[in-house]
Amino acid sequence: MLGNFAIYTALITIFLALWSYLFKSFGKDYLLKFGRKMFFLHTIALSVSTAYLFYSLIAQKFEYAYVYQFTDKTLEFRYVISAFWAGQEGTYLLWAILGAAIGLLLIKREGADWEGPLLVFVSAVQLVLVLFLVIQSPFREVIPNPTDGLGLNPLLKNPWMVIHPPLVFIGYALLLVPMAYALGAMWKKQYGNWVNRALPWTLLGWTFLGAGIIVGGYWAYRVLGWGGYWSWDPVENASLVPWLFGAALVHGMLVQKYRSGFKKTNIGLAITTYVFVIYATFLTRSGVLADFSVHAFSRTPVYLYLGIFLFLLTAGGAGFFFFRMKNIGSSSRGISEEEGFLSKTGFLALSVAGFSISGILIILGTSAPIFTGWFGPPSSVEESFYVQTNLPIALFLCLLLAGSVYLPWKKNNETGGFLKKLLTPLILSMAGGLVAIFLGVYSPLHLLIIVISLLAFWANVFPIVRIWRAKGFLYTGGYFSHLGVAIMLIGFLTSTALTQGETIFLTRGESQESLGYTLNFEGKEIIDEREYYRVLIDDGKKEHEVEPQVYYAGREPRRMREPAVLRYWWGDLYVSPLETQTDERERTLTLRRGETTRIGDLAVTFTSFQAPEHSEQGAMRVGANLVLSFEDQEIEATATMARLSWGWDREPVLAPGGGHLYLEGLTLTMVLQLFILSRLSERERENPWWWK
């Protein structure tokens, strides 16, 4: 009750705030105070619903749909935070509360003449977000009230998943500010100083989004077990594209700040960046790319409204921009003759172009299944497209960021000296290239990438030292971020080009050599339905014990592989379990009620039928209650099956001692067949059916 009440209060107050700020902007100044009050109340209402959702998650109020879907009684306290943003409703609430906080900061800091237009746009977006919460409230009640929840997806039970979503959403929420400023600038027809005011907000939002993307990649590397951090999947691209346009915007804003050029470009970029924030949200939540992504998408009724919002935002932003284009044009300019392209200004302009082209290419690739579907069979593009087209752009940007450090703002007699200043970094990078050859890198392309990224690195190291001494630490931000980009590029290259991999087959008790390590499979343990494979790794100096894991997660259980990573300063050893094999083939057994059958050391007793349940889409789920005993352990469990539209859905029983038992069928004569897919135990090895 309290939760929904707070959401409705937030809706009414933000509507009133939007209304008063709108009329305030048309000259009705007396409405300002009322608007502020309403926005303040809106923030309080959102805080109440946020606090109440947290409380409900902690207090395990399973009567609320959101709590029911994403938690259960066993959930550890620290992952209650991940549960908050495990679903769409929670992320909209998070986004809304962050937006409200940013709105309050804007009221406090940005002065009365900007407050009107800024808050109109901020309130409009808040209104949309709260509408989503009204349409699909996290506080919907489940009737009858369940006593336990479905539980949090184990993939999200990870510390990185606690911080990844808020970082991305702080980024998304902050990137609204430059668009609000750009639209406000067009409204007020003041195209000059908005950039100086919006730049800090843009930098902050862009940095948060970047940090969120990196944390997401790191999470994928540590948890998903496929050995990489970036797979050019639609979901990943969707967050990268606004970041790239944000990068273009930041660099364009610098041109306007220092040289007062690029007024049109910046307004266009500020709108584009936010449009892609919403487009990204739409792609990941509408299910349009469900067939082309490995990520699980779920479509909720909100997606239609999200689509409408995206359309209005794009059409409105573009329409307003073209309407004002001539007006901006009269005060705007590009690169002047006296600056030329060989100047800081020119290089910044080229970087804006580079970032934008990269963003456009990625969005084209990601949306390929949608627009190729209009002409023929829908096609997705392979990773090679993204790598081939973005690599030259990245190298080009790297050269720009190395050179720009030593260039003056406009062409003058210093320009000629710029190559001379680049000489020391160039020599150091060449030396690095030689070291790479010595270490065994022979590919000319790899060497080129190494030298160029080292050039970007060294070119930025010297100015950091010089400027830190001369002006202070606070002036080194740009150089530090460029240094980071250079280091990151070196990391991308070494991790993709120099990775060695091998698939090996470990038998328990027999050690095996691979890639210079000695691996020894010591055995398996099952804790909390997770299979831990204990592997002893000898790297020649020290022995390490690692435990990669296999477990089943999701409502139709899918196998998850959690890798173990051994870290060294020159690289990681990444151990990911792929398959387990056992000696004997799988067997199909027929069990009679009350009878006990032995499968190796496992005794299975079929005790009774489970009453049929009508649950998912009217499908009937049948089940057999079993008692399984292995050595001194005895458990009771139920194997079930249901006929769904895509085939049979079988929920297996995990046997003590390893292996899964699948219910194959129930016959009229009350005979139960058990299908053992891959029973794994320390003593016996079985083969699955495709092993002949």
């Binding site: 779920s298 479509r299 139709e556 899918r558 094999q581 085939g647």
Partner: protein, 122 residues
């Protein structure tokens, strides 16, 4: 100054052609086995398992099986790698790759996740 712009335009055009070429070669359309034999590039074919004659050699890492597409034509699939999740429970599968002679060499296997079918019904 004019010369610089012409150089710039030429560079952009070359890059645009390059990007277009890269896009075309990276495109993997959904086709049938018959069409896949005609095409030289990478394709995706959706098919159903014909029988349970699936052999897997873990030490050399080759997986071979027969697949029948929606038009009914059949092909032998060779895949160099380990079976993906849910492979042993799948009824249909998407293979990404191309024909090399009579055999279809797959570079990726995509098991359709059941949950996605559920979504479509809503």
């Amino acid at each position: 100054m004019k010369r610089k712009y012409i150089i710039g335009i030429i560079i952009i055009l070359i890059f645009a052609f390059f990007a277009g070429w890269s896009f075309r070669s990276a495109m993997t359309p959904y086709v049938s086995f018959a069409e896949a034999k005609e095409l030289s590039g990478q394709v995706q074919v959706m098919g159903y398992f014909v029988d349970e004659e699936i052999s897997y050699d873990l030490t050399s890492g080759y997986l071979t099986f027969e697949l029948k597409d929606e038009e009914g034509s059949q092909a032998r699939i060779v895949y160099d790698g380990v079976p993906p999740d849910n492979f042993d429970h799948a009824e249909s599968i998407v293979v990404v790759g191309k024909f090399q002679g009579e055999e279809f060499t797959a570079t990726r296997l995509l098991v359709k996740c059941p949950s996605k079918y559920e979504e479509e019904q809503k």
